[in-house]
């Protein structure tokens, strides 16, 4: 695990509860930090036309995605005076019931932590070149769509 309090990594497969505990542990070392706000995205067994989703397969444009997330971290850290930002996103296959995204923000006070965490999640979904393919069964899959798409 990276020991900078502002870090991002792609993880192969699901993000585990142990990863989350490690992030929480890192924030606990910071004595001016009063609030953690965490968002975890989890793969849902949604019903589609040909059956229900069993997993999502994530691919990304790695160099650009990393650069975009670093920009998002820098922007929010400054704007909200954050003490820490840890972001994990899964690459590859994540089964239903498993976690594919973790955004963990630390700040002195709750308002900054909560607002920054929410804004970072929205930015990741809008601005970062990652794609999810929803797997229905062996022969069927659907490209996932977020509630908004890039404005370009």
């Amino acid at each position: 695990m990276n020991h900078s309090p502002f870090s991002f990594a792609f993880l192969q497969g699901a993000i585990t509860p142990t990863h989350i505990a490690e992030i929480v542990q890192q924030n606990a070392a910071m004595l001016t930090l009063g609030a953690h706000s965490l968002f975890l995205g989890q793969v849902r067994a949604d019903e589609k036309e040909n059956g229900s989703i069993t997993a999502i397969e994530y691919t990304c444009y790695a160099e650009m995605a990393t650069a975009q997330i670093q920009k998002i971290i820098t922007l929010h850290s400054t704007q909200y005076a954050l003490k820490s930002v840890f972001i994990y996103h899964s690459i590859g296959t994540v089964a239903i019931g498993e976690i594919c995204l973790c955004v963990a923000v630390g700040a002195a006070h709750r308002k900054e932590a909560i607002e920054a965490c929410q804004s970072i999640v929205e930015s990741i979904k809008k601005e970062v070149p990652i794609w999810g393919r929803e797997i229905i069964n062996e022969s069927t899959s659907i490209w996932k769509t977020n509630h908004f798409s890039s404005s370009q």
Partner: protein
């Protein structure tokens, strides 16, 4: 003669059947789009962005040598 490598992702890579290909003699992003629409007509009905060296194209540009050109369907991370 210039020659550009184009990389494709997600549904675009799936539909064209490859993740990279080359285009020749494209001087501007307008020429790039014309050639793409001509070669892959499905792109005319698909929402996608073009990134030049990791920056989403906001206005038409003159293309330079060794730029990384990427075709990006709507993002669906998270």
């Amino acid at each position: 003669m210039n020659r550009h490598k184009i990389i494709a992702f997600g549904i675009i890579a799936e539909k064209i059947g490859k993740t990279e290909f080359y285009l020749e003699n494209i001087a501007t992003t307008q020429a790039l789009k014309e050639k793409l629409y001509n070669q892959y007509p499905f792109l005319q009905t698909l929402t996608f962005s073009i990134a030049i060296d990791h920056e989403i194209l906001q206005e038409e540009l003159t293309l330079e040598e060794n730029q990384e050109i990427a075709l990006l369907p709507p993002f669906s991370g998270g």
